[in-house]
């Protein structure tokens, strides 16, 4: 006798969306979140593009800290270019966004338990799982592990989800006030002296408030050996916004893995960071989390409701999931190129972004932008030629 059809571990974007999709297909769905409330202890830069997010939700004003209408790209040589992209994105109040997703999930029939955690997972003979929660055991047919980059739940199932130091962006961020920042422009800063192997960002959160952060790669992956992300951020803050007041400081890892795990293991499905769904170039995770969760939630429900046998679920899941995740191939290739660029190369890239935008093209069509890079800097970007059809 099962207590739920689907149990989802993790109340972030991926977990909430997977649960919503599963419940929307008619599966009795439980979501457990170990924090005491949805939206607590968020580690995120909170930026999201319109084109991606609009495939999933209609944005509400209360979720938006800043509407983004362009970006400023700052080169290692001190030059910068401003690119206008009206209505291209948002910086979120991620806590309110997640609460909105939780409301949507509850509206779809999902039971949400906060302060509850999966502490054990045992497959049941004949299919399904005995899930040990902090408050007791439950039976279900499918489990979605959306419990973050380390995924304890995947670990309980014996799935090796560890990342090598080469496969992770090491990120730190301060939310600050009293900063001189355009409220409608995001900033990206490049250079080995700022963020080796990565970049720094300033994402406005209203007037004179912003998320100021950076992500670096370790020395083994094109970064600088022995350099700490925390020290880099301190130096960046001193240069960019010396008078800013730090309201909140966070750190975290973003997966930048070449290969995503297959995502479906005998009734256990992965989603979000647990599925390595983040963009390996930018580190953006919200939309990739929703994309992976949509497939995982759908097939978790299909399996639980007996609409297909387990073998067919695995086959169809793999096909659909592969389609959703195929963009990663180009993005990972791009990441490889970026980690090999010198500071002077990055300065040239920033110039090219300016030229590309001045020609009237949008940065929201990344395939076309990469083509432009391939043609303009073939020595650096030529390896991507086959991926963009140049």
């Amino acid at each position: 006798m099962r207590d739920f059809d689907v149990i989802v571990a993790g109340g972030g974007c991926a977990g909430l969306w997977a649960a919503t999709v599963a419940a929307g297909r008619g599966a009795r769905t439980l979501l457990v979140e170990k924090q005491n409330r949805i939206g607590e202890n968020i580690r995120c830069a909170e930026g999201v593009g319109v084109m991606g997010i609009s495939k999933f939700v209609e944005m509400k004003d209360e979720w938006v800290a800043s509407a983004v209408h362009g970006g400023r790209f700052c080169a290692p040589d001190g030059n910068s270019v401003n690119v206008d992209e009206p209505g291209c994105g948002f910086v979120l109040h991620k806590d309110l966004f997640l609460k909105g997703l939780a409301d949507k999930a509850a509206g779809a029939g999902v039971e949400i338990r906060t302060g509850s955690e999966v502490v054990g997972l045992e497959p049941v003979v004949g299919g399904g799982f005995e899930v040990a929660l902090t408050e007791g055991g439950l039976r279900c047919a499918s489990v979605v592990a959306a419990d973050g980059i380390r995924s304890a739940v995947a670990g309980m199932a014996g799935i090796d989800t560890h990342l090598s130091p080469e496969e992770i962006f090491i990120c730190v961020q301060n939310t600050v006030s009293s900063i001189d920042v355009r409220p409608d422009f995001v900033e990206f800063h490049f250079g080995s002296g700022i963020a080796p192997g990565g970049y720094a960002w300033v994402f406005p959160k209203g007037e004179a408030r912003a998320n100021v952060g950076l992500g670096i790669m370790s020395g083994r992956a094109g970064g600088a050996a022995g350099v700490r992300a925390g020290d880099c951020l301190k130096a960046f803050m001193e240069a960019r916004c010396p008078g800013a007041k730090i309201e909140r400081a966070i750190a975290g890892g973003v997966p930048a893995a070449k290969k995503a795990p297959r995502g479906c293991y005998n009734g256990l499905f992965l989603a979000g960071d647990a599925a390595r769904a983040a963009d390996p170039v930018s580190g953006a995770g919200i939309v990739p989390a929703l994309e992976s969760a949509a497939v995982s939630g759908e097939f978790a429900a299909i399996l639980a409701l007996g609409e297909m046998d387990a073998g067919e679920v695995e086959r169809r899941f793999s096909k659909k999931y592969g389609e959703v995740m195929k963009w990663r191939r180009l993005r990972y290739g791009l990441r490889k190129v970026f980690t090999r660029l010198s500071d002077s190369d990055f300065s040239r890239v920033v110039d090219l972004i300016g030229e590309y935008a001045a020609s009237g093209q949008s940065l929201q069509t990344p395939g076309s932008l990469v083509k432009f890079f391939v043609k303009s800097m073939p020595g650096n970007f030529g390896m991507l030629r086959h991926l963009v059809g140049v």
Binding site: L163, S164, R228
Partner: protein, 68 residues
């Protein structure tokens, strides 16, 4: 290193960040983290030092992890 309990073979490091980057790169899953501390299971730790390489704030240091 803040504490070392022999009977549990665990080493504890004071950490205010709870970011879990160290745990994410730990193959043998020897690391647990909770508000205020990172705990390394010394029996499971292989001493590879990957956790120290990625630690954003230098809470875990390669020379200390290597001694585990």
């Amino acid at each position: 290193m803040q504490g070392d309990t022999q009977e549990r073979r665990r080493a504890e490091f004071a950490c205010e960040w709870t970011c879990g980057v160290c745990a994410a790169v730990c193959g043998p899953r020897a690391i647990d983290y909770a508000p205020g501390a990172v705990t390394v299971d010394r029996d499971a730790c292989k001493g590879c030092g990957d956790c120290a390489i990625v630690c954003p704030h230098g809470v875990l240091k390669e020379e200390e992890v290597a001694r585990l």
